[in-house]
Assembly symmetry: C2
Homo-oligomer: 250 residues x 2
Amino acid sequence: MNPLDATRALMDGLGSEANVCMKCGSRSIGLCAPLDVAALDDMSGESERHALEPRDAIFHQGDPARHIYTLTEGTARLTRVLPDGRQAVIGFRFAGDILGFTPDKEHAVGAEMLTKGTVCRLDRRRLEHLFRRYPVLERRFLDLCVKELAASQDHILALGRFSAEERVAGFIISLVEAQERRGRVGPVFDLPATRADIGEFLGLTLETVSRAISAFRKRGWIRLHGHSGIEITDRPALMGLGSGEGVHAA
Amino acid sequence: MNPLDATRALMDGLGSEANVCMKCGSRSIGLCAPLDVAALDDMSGESERHALEPRDAIFHQGDPARHIYTLTEGTARLTRVLPDGRQAVIGFRFAGDILGFTPDKEHAVGAEMLTKGTVCRLDRRRLEHLFRRYPVLERRFLDLCVKELAASQDHILALGRFSAEERVAGFIISLVEAQERRGRVGPVFDLPATRADIGEFLGLTLETVSRAISAFRKRGWIRLHGHSGIEITDRPALMGLGSGEGVHAA
DNA sequence: CGATCCGTTGACGGTCTTCAATATGCGTGG
DNA sequence: CCACGCATATTGAAGACCGTCAACGGATCG
């Protein structure tokens, strides 16, 4: 995997294929891809939808892990907090991604909405049941999980070795690519996270993120449209910086 | 999971149960735990052992992923390199851990020995075959993979939010706990990685790692025995620092 | 016994954080 | 529709932390 794909894959998280799941509506569960119609029916029949507002929690760190969720609309962030209150954003999740899957008793991370949206909730025991009935589903979880792991490792690489501007550039590119993979076309893309959210994801302060974005703007690499619109005007430049083709050339 | 467990679980990686695998000898493959004797026999019959020296590569980043490996003796590191040559150590692996499992065509990380040791090599197609014959094995991979993912997320948290000393303290604690879980008792533990390796794992330079270790020594928290022996003399202090009970108290 | 690798320590400089002030966009209610 | 107020973003200045460069010390091995 290209290091540029780091955050991209991370943010895609579990499930990013584009096919339609019966009850969940327009956007799909990547998981459903290998299932036949009967299985989809099973799965849909056992899930319930919930509408959520910005800042609503889907689940909290430490909650008993009784359900898994599919984010069907909107954007969410995964967070992890330390005993002393410091917090990090572990990743962002978009429509089609899966949240809260763990073999543990409790959720190790919390999940909160950044925008309005909806989730599909599936009881964990029912998922186990589905695993037994459709073994291919379990294999799919395994594959997605390994992909996610690779993405996390890329993020580790970025946090450990990238400068502030490199991280922000990589983040913007991954955000754009994630939206393109979901069918977005226009030159203006969504920037659903605040500077603070981005900073907590990249291990930077919000000021440093803001300065990096301003620098890109001044160099003519991007243009901002309001508080949540971003246009890429020099994609190669951003990609070069964000994928580790640093000055430290080999 | 306690944030302190971050690196610990990461370093344990896939597989840490203590039971004996037929051919691999003394230390076990965690994977084998749920299998019966016939299955173990199958698995052992299809693997081959390799002896390795320090700095030997087990596989390189980009190699076709044709095998998976069980580290049966010794310590290894997983590395990932950037186009410009910058490198990060993604994690350390110890006896009993699994290396190189991926659904992708190529290895996304490289693996090299830090010490002398041996690995058990299993053809990937044979693993797929075993998955079909013993479905519980696949489920085990999934669980281990999710655990590993949680560990990576803790490492992300550490890289993004911990100071240099906090990271080094957390690393030492996890190293010690990993060895204790493998049955090591004495007050003196093994430190199989160089300052440079530790630095590349923690996103620091070797000098900064050295300074942190010196600081702990001067505070009476640890004592060094030669180049690869470390004794913990004030464990609560190290644990407090390494688990994020920072000054920023809640 | 010299060579080499690894670790330690010091001085200096850069990057990013911190603290602070100001500006801009956005929603609300007049 | 415009004015107001709040949240978010921007920008500046100062300083902390860590990286860089460099010299030295100690251990191991041939």
